[in-house]
C-alpha cells in the first residue's frame, strides 16, 4: 500500500519544527511496511489534491501566511471537494486560520479565507504563549503541546479539545481545535505528533483503515515518546497541585 502525503508550504510555513509531524507520520507508516510518499509543494506551483490521502500545513510568520493564503485561495473549490471526500487534513499552528471565513490582520485589513469552517481569525498585537494540556474526547490521556501565536479564532463551533491549561482559541477560551470528517486542526505546536504518540497511533490507524479496512497493524513502539510524555505530565501534575495548594 502507498500513502500519499502532501506537505504544503514546507519552505514558507516552516516555523516551530513543524516538519517533525511529517517525519513522525512517515516513519510510523513505513514501520507498518507501508510506502509513505511525501510530496513537497509551495507557492508558485500548481496544486491538485486528488492524488493525496493526507494533506499537511504548519505554522508560519503572519506575513508568510498571507502569501500562502493568496496562493491557496485559487484552490478553494478543490480543497472543499477533498475535505468532503474524506481526505485527511492535519493543519497546525496558524495555518488553521487559513480555513476559516476570514483573517483580520494587526492593521485591521481583512483577508478572505477558505471558508471551509465558519470561524473568523483575528491577529492581535501581542503574542500568546503557553504550555498546553488539552483534554480530547477520543483519548484517555491529555494532549500536550505548546502555543505560540498572535492569532485567535472566534465563533468556533464544537471545539476538538477542552483546554485544561493553555490559551485555547483565544485567551480564556475553554475549547480549541477542529475535528470534522477527517480534518484535524489545532493551534498546538510540539510537534503535536512527536509529543502525543497516542494521537499519532490513532491518526495512522484512521488513515490506513480508510484505504484498507482490513489492514493488520503491527504493534507500534512509542517507548521514547511515552517516556517524554510521562516526564512532562509528572512535572505538570506537580506544578498543578502546588498551584492548587497555594490557592487554598
Amino acid at each position: 500500500m502507498t500513502i500519499n502525503i502532501l506537505y504544503l508550504y514546507y519552505d514558507i510555513l516552516n516555523l516551530y519544527g513543524e516538519s517533525g509531524n511529517i517525519k513522525v507520520l512517515k516513519k510510523q507508516l513505513e514501520l507498518q511496511n507501508i510506502e509513505a510518499v511525501v510530496t513537497f509543494k509551495t507557492i508558485g506551483e500548481e496544486l491538485e489534491f486528488q492524488t493525496y490521502d493526507f494533506i499537511y500545513i504548519g505554522s508560519g510568520t503572519e506575513e508568510n501566511q498571507k502569501i500562502a493564503l493568496k496562493h491557496l485561495m485559487k484552490y478553494q473549490k478543490e480543497i472543499e471537494t477533498a475535505y468532503q471526500q474524506g481526505k485527511f487534513f492535519l493543519i497546525t499552528g496558524n495555518a488553521l486560520e487559513l480555513f476559516g471565513k476570514s483573517i483580520l490582520d494587526i492593521e485591521g485589513k481583512k483577508y478572505k479565507a477558505l471558508n471551509l469552517f465558519s470561524f473568523t481569525a483575528k491577529q492581535e498585537s501581542f503574542r500568546m504563549v503557553d504550555e498546553c494540556v488539552f483534554h480530547c474526547p477520543l483519548f484517555k490521556k491529555n494532549i500536550i503541546g505548546f502555543q505560540n501565536q498572535s492569532g485567535t479564532m472566534h465563533q468556533l463551533k464544537e471545539p476538538f479539545f477542552e483546554v485544561k491549561k493553555g490559551i485555547g482559541s483565544y485567551p480564556g477560551s475553554k475549547g480549541e481545535g477542529i475535528h470534522q470528517n477527517n480534518f484535524y486542526g489545532t493551534y498546538l505546536i510540539g510537534p503535536i505528533l512527536a509529543r502525543n504518540p497516542f494521537f499519532t497511533k490513532y491518526l495512522v490507524k484512521e488513515l490506513v483503515s480508510t484505504k484498507d479496512p482490513n489492514f493488520s497493524f503491527k504493534r507500534m513502539d512509542f517507548t521514547l515518546e511515552n517516556r517524554a510524555y510521562q516526564h512532562f505530565m509528572e512535572q505538570f501534575e506537580k506544578e498543578y497541585l502546588e498551584e492548587k495548594d497555594t490557592n487554598l
Binding site: 516551530y16 519544527g17 513543524e18 517525519k23 509551495t42 502569501i67 498572535s150 512527536a194 521514547l224 517524554a228
Partner: protein, 444 residues
C-alpha cells in the same frame, strides 16, 4: 541629584560584589531603581558601537573592544554576555563619574536583539553591527519576523550600519537606509555547500516579489550567496570579504591580502573576525595596527574546550538552546571530524530566562547531519533525555546508537562503559560546566 545618587549606589553595589567575587547585573538594577531615566542622563563617549545578532555578539563585541585597547583606545564594554538593559547600565555606570560623564574614548556594547529597541530609545550608536538573524528563543520572540521588525524600526539614518552580506534577513535591513552601510561577508571556501540542511530557511523568498530566492551556495544556515531571479534582491558585494579560509591551519585572508589568525577551527569564527575587522578599519584604525592586535588577541569568553575521558579526546561544545543555528554549527563542526565518535547531548533547563518548556526547536535542528558522521553512540542526558532521543530517532539515528541517560552524575560512567571514540559534548550552558567538572573530577 538623583542621577548622582543612582551612580553612587551602583558603584557601591559593584564594589561589594567585587569583594564577594560575584558578577551580575545588580549594579545596573540598583541604578535603574533609583533613577529610571539614568540612560538619558549619561554623557556617552564620542564613539559608540552596538553589536547585535542571533549569534556572534559576544565574540564580535569582545574582539572589537580588545583590538581597540591593543591600539591604545580606552573602551567601556559589556562582554561576558550581559546584554540586557540592566547589564548594559552596569557597564555605563562603572565607566562614568558622579556627574554621569563616561571616561572611556569608546563604548562597545553587545545588545540582545529584542532589547535593541529599548536601548536605542536612550542611546543611538554611531556604528551598528548586525551579524545574523535566525529563529531563536521563539517562546519570547514569537518568530524572527517580529525580531526583524523591532530592530529595523529603530535604525536611523545617522547610524552607520555594518552588516553581514551573506545573511538575506540582515541585508534586508539596509534596503531603505539612507545613511552609510558597509558590508562584510565570505566568498566560496572549501566549506561551502550547494544545498541547505533543511527546509527551515528563515528567508527563502524574495521579500519584494515573493519569488523563491536562488542560493548559489551556502556557508551555513541561511547564509550564503543568494539572488532573486527577478533581480529585486541580491547579495551585496562586501567591502570586507573573507577570500580564503583554512580551518585546519587556523587562518583566514581578507580581501586577498590581509591574513589573520583564527583562534579555533570553527567556521563562524571567521565571520566574527571579519565583522570586527570591518568595524575597526571603518573607524580609521590602520591595517598594520589591526593585524598586530588580532595576533595578540585573547577572548575572555570561550565556548570551545578540550578535555579527556580515559585517554579519549573530549570536546565540550556549548550550544544555545532554542537557537537551531547554534546547534547546527556544532553539528557541522562534529561532521567535519572523520574519526569514530560519541556525542553527548542535553540540557537541564530549556531556557535560562523563563519557565516555558517548548521543545519544537529540537525539530528545527539538523540532527540528520549526524547520521553519516561515524557515530558510535549518542548519549542523551538531562531531564529531557527522552525528548532528545525521540528527535534523534526520527532524524534517522538507529535505536541501538541512542542511549538515554537522565542523570548528569552518571554520564562519565556511561560514556566510559558503553561508548567508543572521541567524545563531543553538545550541551547547553547549564550542563556544560557540570560536564567539565565531572570529566576533570573523574581523572583524579
Amino acid at each position: 541629584m538623583r542621577t548622582a545618587l543612582a551612580i553612587l549606589a551602583s558603584k557601591i553595589t559593584a564594589a561589594i560584589l567585587k569583594l564577594l567575587h560575584k558578577g551580575s547585573s545588580k549594579p545596573g538594577e540598583v541604578a535603574l531603581a533609583i533613577d529610571p531615566k539614568i540612560m538619558t542622563k549619561i554623557t556617552y563617549p564620542k564613539l559608540k558601537v552596538v553589536v547585535t545578532g542571533t549569534t556572534g555578539k559576544t565574540s564580535i563585541a569582545g574582539t572589537i573592544a580588545n583590538v581597540m585597547e591593543e591600539c591604545g583606545m580606552s573602551c567601556a564594554q559589556n562582554i561576558k554576555g550581559a546584554n540586557l538593559t540592566k547589564g548594559i547600565i552596569s557597564v555605563l555606570v562603572k565607566d562614568c563619574n558622579l556627574r554621569g560623564v563616561m571616561k572611556s574614548e569608546a563604548l562597545v556594547l553587545e545588545v540582545d536583539e529584542r532589547y535593541v529597541k529599548e536601548i536605542f530609545k536612550y542611546m543611538k550608536p554611531d556604528y551598528f553591527i548586525i551579524n545574523n538573524l535566525s529563529r531563536d528563543q521563539l517562546s519570547r520572540n514569537g518568530h524572527f519576523g517580529i525580531v526583524w521588525k523591532d530592530i529595523h524600526n529603530c535604525i536611523e539614518d545617522s547610524m552607520h550600519l555594518i552588516l553581514n552580506a551573506d545573511d538575506p534577513l540582515v541585508t534586508l535591513m539596509a534596503h531603505d537606509h539612507k545613511g552609510k552601510t558597509t558590508f562584510y561577508g565570505m566568498s566560496n571556501t572549501p566549506y561551502t555547500t550547494t544545498k541547505p540542511n533543511q527546509n527551515t530557511l528563515d528567508l527563502a523568498y524574495c521579500p519584494f516579489c515573493h519569488t523563491k530566492l536562488v542560493f548559489d551556495y551556502y556557508h551555513y544556515g541561511n547564509l550564503g550567496g543568494y539572488h532573486c531571479p527577478r533581480e529585486d534582491f541580491t547579495r551585496p558585494v562586501p567591502e570586507f570579504q573573507v577570500t580564503e579560509l583554512n580551518l585546519e591551519e587556523k587562518y583566514m585572508v581578507i580581501n586577498q591580502n590581509i591574513t589573520l589568525p583564527l583562534k579555533n577551527d570553527i567556521l563562524y569564527t571567521a565571520y566574527n573576525n571579519v565583522a570586527s575587522f570591518a568595524l575597526c578599519k571603518t573607524i580609521g584604525i590602520e591595517e598594520e595596527a589591526l593585524k598586530k592586535a588580532f595576533d595578540a588577541l585573547s577572548l575572555k569568553v570561550q565556548r570551545l574546550e578540550k578535555l579527556e575521558i580515559n585517554g579519549r579526546n573530549t570536546y565540550v561544545l556549548t550550544s544555545k538552546n532554542e537557537t537551531p543555528i547554534s546547534y547546527n554549527q556544532t553539528i557541522a563542526y562534529i561532521q567535519k571530524d572523520p574519526d569514530l565518535k560519541t556525542v553527548v547531548v542535553g540540557f537541564e533547563n530549556v531556557s535560562g530566562r523563563y519557565a516555558y518548556r517548548d521543545l519544537s526547536w529540537l525539530w528545527d535542528i539538523y540532527f540528520e547531519g549526524l547520521v553519516d558522521a561515524n557515530i558510535d553512540k549518542i548519549v542523551c542526558v538531562g531531564p529531557f533525555a527522552s525528548d532528545l532521543a525521540n528527535r534523534l530517532y526520527y532524524a534517522g539515528i538507529p535505536s541501538k546508537q541512542i542511549i538515554v541517560n537522565y542523570p548528569i552524575e552518571t554520564i562519565i560512567q556511561t560514556v566510559k562503559k558503553e561508548t567508543k571514540g572521541k567524545v563531543y559534548a553538545m550541551v547547553y550552558f547549564d550542563l556544560a560546566y557540570k560536564f567539565r567538572d565531572l570529566v576533570r573530577g573523574d581523572k583524579k
